[in-house]
Subunit: 316 residues, 2 copies
């Protein structure tokens, strides 16, 4: 999270310069040359509806028609369909707070958690760990959940990701990583949003630690490269030793990967209750921000294994 030696942005995109659909019909708000740097100032994924003072009751007033906005689009001169957009992620600066929620009807275990819950977490620039529940300190690794170009056709919701990128919610896209996106329209038209202070692989409750985010991003047209979907050069995991150190892991096993993932997660929530006295809702939200879903085995037909990994280093 060092900010030394960062390049200067050519364009600044304000938090109000956002849109609510991926749509090639949306006009660019600015144009840059290939290789220039843009600073994006993004509200959180609730588009400012949730604040540091919000409570679980606030979720009832959430207008879903206004969430998951993305800031942009920025046109990159010379970009043509079939080219690739190289997105160098230079820096992410979260706000001093974030929120994590279980929203009724949304999330991997929506059926198990019909009631909503909102948790506000205070963040500090002075530490790369945050106490999420008492005695449980999780590593911060900020990134943006939404990164995309104008899709082939639109308008499309900003909720599901697709080959143009969008809501990929991929925790490995931290500063130092480089994303490659296919280009479908002249100018590429890049937008970004959905700041996350940290997240587990899967984002199981449907939310990370959601936070307003400043993102510094270099956009470069690559005519020598053709990709068919998002690919990326991942920076070294900033918390590899903790995240891949001693872990407790639970399996889901069966012919359907989605069901296996749910089963693995349910067993992890059960373990967090048994061993760490967490209520199910506390455990579910912790999993969303700190537990990683991996596919352990995907070939031994008819049964496959999805494993949830919880790093033990988060427990005091």
């Amino acid at each position: 999270m060092t900010r030394i030696n960062l390049p200067v942005a050519t364009v600044h995109v304000g938090r109000e310069q956002s849109h609510l659909a991926w749509d090639p019909a949306i006009s660019p708000i600015a144009s840059i040359d290939s290789g220039e740097v843009v600073e994006f100032d993004c509200l959180d994924a609730s588009n400012g509806q949730i604040t540091a003072e919000s409570t679980t009751e606030s979720l009832a007033d959430l207008d879903f028609a206004g969430v998951d906005q993305v800031n942009g689009p920025i046109e990159v001169a010379g970009a043509e369909p079939g080219d690739t957009l190289q997105v160098d992620l230079l820096d992410f600066t979260p706000a001093d707070w974030g929120w994590t929620a279980s929203i009724p009807g949304f999330g991997l275990l929506a059926e198990d958690f019909p009631d909503g819950h909102l948790k506000i977490t205070r963040l500090s620039a002075a530490s790369d760990r945050v106490e999420f529940w008492p005695g449980i300190r999780i590593p911060l690794a900020p990134f943006c959940g939404e990164l995309g170009v104008a899709p082939e056709t639109g308008p499309r919701s900003t909720i599901p990701p697709d080959l143009h990128g969008g809501n990929m919610d991929t925790r490995h896209l931290v500063a130092g990583s480089t994303l490659f996106l296919p280009i479908f329209h002249p100018g590429a038209r890049f937008s970004v949003g959905d700041g996350h202070a940290t997240q587990g692989d899967g984002e199981v409750s449907g939310t990370a630690i959601e936070t307003p985010m400043r993102a510094l991003i270099r956009l470069t047209v690559r005519k020598d490269l053709h990709v068919t979907g998002p690919e990326f050069l991942a920076a070294p995991d900033p918390h590899a030793a903790l995240r891949n150190g001693a872990r407790y892991a639970t399996d889901g096993i069966g012919p359907d990967l989605m069901t296996a993932a749910r089963d693995a997660l349910r067993r992890m929530i059960e373990w967090l209750g048994r061993e760490h006295d967490l209520e199910p809702m506390q455990a579910y939200l912790l999993c969303s921000v700190a537990v990683d879903l991996r596919i352990s085995e995907i070939v031994d037909v008819p049964n496959f294994v999805v494993t949830a990994h919880c790093p033990l280093g988060i427990f005091d």
Copy 2:
């Protein structure tokens, strides 16, 4: 892979003491007290049909009715249904060779790779890396793909894993890890097999570096614990810095996780060809032993993201 201070085994299970089904009707070959240590001498998953001198042509003679044998079963005195079997994985010693294959009709991309291929790799006890293709050295982290107890009902094939364990092919179950399995029958009746010198999350071609393996395992009955499927305490990833260092990653995105996994893998194979001049079959086998499948996002309906991660540290 240190062998100092290892406990002495009470029972030695020979490579011929194996069975070809998970079945509660199979009688134990030996009985131990809870907490005793067993040494298992296991042939590779081909049950000795493939040797260090085998070639791709040898695959035509492979008798699938004789593969994926497991050694045991060992009865643990006092184990009752509803208890948990604690399986402390103390040491794994692979042979000095192993094999990796694409077997027609088997594997995540069976449709893309209709022709078989067999690759023999020489292993050395002196190094924790092995050159898999010229200039590509992958980390070794030996474990056993099959670890299980007598299932609730049987006989059952040893190919698919299930809640009793079995062919979980989980690369995190290296020495130092502890597996917890539900117990369905008196004595638990534990068996093990399918030695792997190393593997990626997913085991995408259907084979790891398959190798004969000596396994030293402590079996303990836990009456204070009840699990409903396999759970484990994972030892720190012995190659966390390499495996979670800089990586190239490719996405598959869509409503079906299996299809998304295939798409991510196909893009990874394409990248390995584009950037590292690997033939598709070379790339496919490399993915099976060194590339990890992670679920990046599983909540943004209707589209989910599976990501294949290839550590860059494997390339000279």
